[in-house]
Symmetry: C2
Subunit: 312 residues, 2 copies
Amino acid sequence: MKSIFYSRFFILLPWILIVIIVIDIDTKRLSVRNTASFYLSRLGNVQQRQVVRTTRTSSSTSSGSNTSSPPVIYAITPTYSRVVQKAELTRLANTFRQVPHFHWVVVEDSNSHTELVSRFLARSGVRYTHLNVLTPRRFKRTGMPRATEQRNLALGWLRGRRASKDKGVVFFADDDNSYSLELFEEMRSTRKVSVWPVGLVGGRRYERPLVKNGKVVGWYTGWKADRPFAIDMAGFAVNLQVILSNPRALFKRRGAKPGMQESDFLKQITKVEDLEPKAQNCTQVLVWHTRTEKVNLGNETKRQQDSIFIEV
Amino acid sequence: MKSIFYSRFFILLPWILIVIIVIDIDTKRLSVRNTASFYLSRLGNVQQRQVVRTTRTSSSTSSGSNTSSPPVIYAITPTYSRVVQKAELTRLANTFRQVPHFHWVVVEDSNSHTELVSRFLARSGVRYTHLNVLTPRRFKRTGMPRATEQRNLALGWLRGRRASKDKGVVFFADDDNSYSLELFEEMRSTRKVSVWPVGLVGGRRYERPLVKNGKVVGWYTGWKADRPFAIDMAGFAVNLQVILSNPRALFKRRGAKPGMQESDFLKQITKVEDLEPKAQNCTQVLVWHTRTEKVNLGNETKRQQDSIFIEV
């Protein structure tokens, strides 16, 4: 009797051990996968070339519909051909590559995708959508608002390609500003419309919403303080669902006064008292309205020309 | 007899399985660790806060003496207080954070470490050394070479803290240029002195060394083509051992003509025929000499002042 018990015990024990170990391995594998995907997402998926390339015509892929994952940040960047364009896009991509759950909507002011931007985006390591629309010549004058058509096209793309199940935050990221990574984590929790300070704008060191008891009560600004929303394009983000549920909200050409684009747009989707202050009640500057100097090309034609074409 | 065989078999088989599984787990753990360290190194060690903070007085840590690891890139960045400083350093750190085996030598033009730069570096997620030296007032004039004292202090730091066993590449990374990540992989293999094109410089779209049969034979430049090395500060890198074995090589104040800093320095350590062309025989622009516009602060004093101090 005793010997039967022992023999059964020694046969069963190792099988139980095997089951325990196998369960343990499965847990580990899961955590390996999680660790890897965490780092991969931090890297903007560069390493595994999981970059999703969507174009104006191709159907969109991963739309952030997974309800357990954090909201996707849709950064809308209007851009146009100029000699510093690739330099600006390069340092922008270097920043965006480190923002997890990020989708870059790049809209060229052109009749078609330019080769430079197409090639650049394909190698950028950032999930992106490449759009284009030409600004009519009559709007290309000093004092006219810029990039209106490009931002509106991006809003149209979001409305056509994203649905009520998709979690996202929309941000207008001009291509010459400087962005800290913290900014994106601040804006990710935007429920309706969030706001924060912007550095180097309005003829001042910074502009910011003035906050009292967690509510925006005014604007610290260097310019046109009577605007309903005295804020720069880089100073706010909008929840994707707000964009979708206000299908007519657009940047306006008709009746738009210079410098009123942001205010005119925000009036259509929110009220000042509903704004969500970010960056420690709007006391931290996490984005800067930098401007890149025009390049002096005075010697371009003066001296010998190069024998090959080099993209700059 | 048969029953004894079966009972032994069923007792031994699971134990053998257990041993196999345990060996398998150990291998997996190793690979998890390797994967993690790979991604961590790509992230500039941000995640685990393995950031090494060395200061002028503290003893240096990891000096890249491990002969199996790739050479460390020492990027020397002179910087000075101005309203766009933090914006520029932010986007610079966003780029450098993604360069593996990187050590940022930041040299302030100041009497002591400023709080802004100290705080910024401590949170940058980049391995760094923070130095400072004030440019004498008599040298702060238009037409005078800039950042001479800062670059020389960084060279002195390298000569004092690094030895012949250390593998490294030294690069002068001004704080307003734009850098692609590819640039750093190109320069990492520098054996003596390497060169490549620089965009948006010399009044041209780009300047570059002209290469024939893998050797530099001249310069495509917009300006002072008769310089022995007609190249911008962002256009070359030097192997650490060349810096160490030429202890007197420095940027000069005495007898230095404007715009001759690079050429005067390179003359002390190399010859044109020994230069190593990078970036596909100097046909790719991977770095741009961008300049940030001076900020208009015209409204800073005009209107109401903020009630709190906010760092910009």
